[in-house]
Amino acid sequence: MTIDKDLIAETYSPLSSVAAVSEGLLSVGYISSEEISTAIYLAVHLRKPILIEGPAGVGKTDLAQSLSRYLDVPLERLQCYEGLDESKSLYEWKYGKQLLYTQILKDRLNDVVGDAGTIADLTGRLATFEDLFFSHDFLEPRPLLRAMEQTSGSVLLIDEIDKSDEEFEAFLLEVLSDYQVTVPEIGTIKANVPPIVILTSNNVRDLGDALKRRCLHLYIGFPDAAREREIVRARVPDVSDSLLTQLVSFVQDLRTKDLRKRPSISETVDWARTLLLMHADSLDEAMVRKTLNVLLKYESDIEATSNAIGSMARNAASSSESKRLPSGYPSLS
């Protein structure tokens, strides 16, 4: 198979400009930023994988999912962990099926070899069947191979690459630079339409330079208040404007504190849902104290902020007031 330029262009045509990327992602509920859209745009047009780093819960994995939803192509997801190897990521032979077929064929073996005179003759005849067992029919494709075999493009998400071993990282290089994989018994399989490859990392360990060099690099950090409001609005549409402003400004304030784990977007969204369930229409100290464990995941963090909660809640509560003054509150929808 050769790379078909027209087909590639057609598959990824919705991503023809940075603005188109942003709009497309927005249409499936992902609020992008200039930086994210530019990286996606470049990845498609330079045909390079993207390595996304950033704290947990800022939407790294979600980006890949949204992209596949928007392009309407399959998402192949490979979750990395210590000890992940080729048989889990690339392909595996269907041993059971092979065994079963051998059992069935056993009865018919006489028909095949019945009149073979010499050993050489016998091996010659058997050799013609050898390829049968190591053919595509007996191959169990795993995410990497599946992504290469998609005829109409796909999004390949290699999640938390930093959790895998260094050997696996080296193994990925062939996939990432040439969009092809090699199965020794069959040969090299090259992607017809290269997938959009997205790797994510939480920085558990430093990745190798060879891998970094092959990828575009994107850092997704915590969003600013405006983007965070949009994100929460998209995920929790029922939340009122004033509460939204208050809770986002509270979380933004909280992130500036000295914490062991700072709350992410996913925590903000969870908190918005929690507040909604509790029928809160504005922030007050008691409410924040009751629900703080949604935002902060360490007891020491909750204790450390305990003294400041009151003033932070008041600040956040007043933030929506000041924003609703004369000029009019900007519509978020």
């Binding site: 930086e35 780093e53 041993y95 060099r213 575009l216 690099h217 000295d258």
Partner: protein, 449 residues
């Protein structure tokens, strides 16, 4: 200047600032520029950032250099178009004479001459800020200052009022151009040399003796320690597994092949996991050693990702567990250190008492997988050094590493008990600078992999 040239120059600037950019990435950058064009600066900046800068630290450097570099380029470009419009009517020849350049009313002419002279004298290789005046001189030479000076001498020797006035004019011009050249060289240093200087300074600092450091050195040490520690973390973060081939892991093999009727297609071997580092740190925080303790603690604090099991004790007279003090973020480290020194760092040092405190209160935290690191000068004010406890400790642990800030010839002199502790330690190292500290910690961690 062509797009390729601009990008390669920029890449050069990045490399000198310790951003590692490969040739392949440079090619990608050129392709990216083809794709996005130069029109939208922010777009270009974002696009190139994702191609060239591959970590958070690199992104910061990138942002700074991008502004510096392309500001200049843009100025250059706009001036070029401007001056070419102006020149269209006049003669298109460039002014070559020094005085023509210096007295040109057109700022663009001066800028361009500086740029050209800078390139001719290899200004891009500038590495140290002290080189600016040297390069400025070279640039003036390129612009023909020698010829001008010859003429200047002639005029002075003529001893005529017109000659003096002419000489005055020339000297003014030279002064003005010297200032401009130095300013230009400084700018270029910011782009091409500042990063390299930082690298040089770091290397120098890592070699400098810790007790000779002044306050400004100490402040610069913090990021440097973080950098060195990070290097160690990535080196040791991989938990090594040893395959012990030859011993079949029957349980795992059966489990893996259950679907195939127990026919062992997929064979698993026993694996032994290496121990995670387990460190117990005993620090003498009396006056003479306190400074070293700060660095050792900061260093270990930065590598705690690979050393989850770390107990820290400090003593001068009595031993105290200072682990809880250090359970803060990096910003809180300094104040934690102050507290430790204020609470424990007084009284006369007594190694014997510290060892017996360790035996009484914390003996259970030490086992055969523990490495004990002792930091101190072993000056125990002639008290009983309690060698017996130390001997027990040595038998109980994996290794004892002693870091002594004093030079070897001083060991055992006066009230130093170093030579009596010596036989029971696995290694005793002199600790005088950061490099030795890094090597010592590396060595400790190495024994766990």
């Amino acid at each position: 200047m062509s797009a390729e040239r601009t990008i390669t120059d920029f890449v050069r600037a990045l490399r000198s600032a310790d951003v590692k950019v490969s040739t392949a990435e440079t090619l990608d950058a050129v392709k990216a520029v083809d794709l996005v064009g130069y029109e939208d600066r922010e777009f270009l900046k974002t696009a190139l950032r994702s191609v060239l800068a591959k970590s958070e630290a690199e992104k910061d450097t990138y942002d700074r250099l991008f502004e510096l570099f392309f500001q200049r380029k843009q100025k250059e470009q706009s001036e070029k178009t401007e001056s070419s419009e102006q020149d269209a009517g006049e003669d298109s020849g460039e002014p070559q004479n020094f005085m023509d350049i210096a007295e040109s009313s057109d700022e663009a002419v001066i800028e361009m001459a500086l740029e050209r002279a800078g390139q001719a004298s290899g200004l891009q290789d500038i590495r140290f800020s002290t080189q600016t005046s040297y390069y400025a001189q070279q640039m003036l030479k390129e612009m023909g200052v020698r010829e001008m000076e010859a003429e200047l001498l002639e005029q002075l020797q003529a001893h005529t009022p017109e000659g003096d006035a002419e000489a005055e004019r020339m000297m003014d011009a030279r002064k003005k151009m010297t200032a401009r050249a130095i300013e230009f060289a400084k700018q270029q240093f910011e782009v091409f040399g500042a990063g390299a200087t930082q690298q040089f300074r770091d290397d120098f600092l890592a070699d400098k003796r810790i007790n000779e450091m002044d306050r400004s050195d100490m402040e610069r040490m913090k990021p440097l320690i973080q950098k060195l520690a990070k290097r160690l973390v990535s080196k040791h973060s991989r938990r090594k597994r040893q395959k012990n081939r030859g011993q079949l892991d029957i349980r795992k093999t059966l489990r893996a092949n259950a679907g195939r009727d127990g026919v062992p297609f997929d064979v698993h071997w026993r694996q032994t996991k290496k121990d995670r580092p387990k460190l117990v740190l005993i620090c003498d925080v009396s006056g003479s050693v306190a400074r070293f303790v700060r660095f050792l603690l900061l260093f270990l604090y930065c590598v705690r990702d690979v050393v989850p099991d770390l107990h820290t004790y400090a003593f001068s007279a009595r031993l105290k567990d200072v682990g809880p003090y250090l359970d803060t973020s990096l910003d809180g480290f300094e104040s934690a250190m102050e507290r430790i020194l204020a609470e424990i760092g007084w009284g006369s040092t007594d190694y014997g008492q510290a060892l017996s405190d360790l035996q009484v209160d914390h003996w259970s935290k030490i086992d055969r997988r523990t490495t004990v690191i002792v930091l101190g000068d072993a000056r125990s004010n002639h008290g009983d050094p309690r060698i017996d406890i130390f001997e027990d400790l040595a038998a109980k642990t994996k290794r004892i590493v002693w870091l002594n800030p004093e030079a070897r010839p001083l060991w055992g002199t006066g009230d130093s008990e170093m030579l009596r502790y010596f036989p029971h330690c696995s290694t005793v190292t002199m600790l005088s600078n950061l490099k030795q500290l890094e090597r010592a910690i590396d060595d400790v961690l190495m024994h766990y992999s």
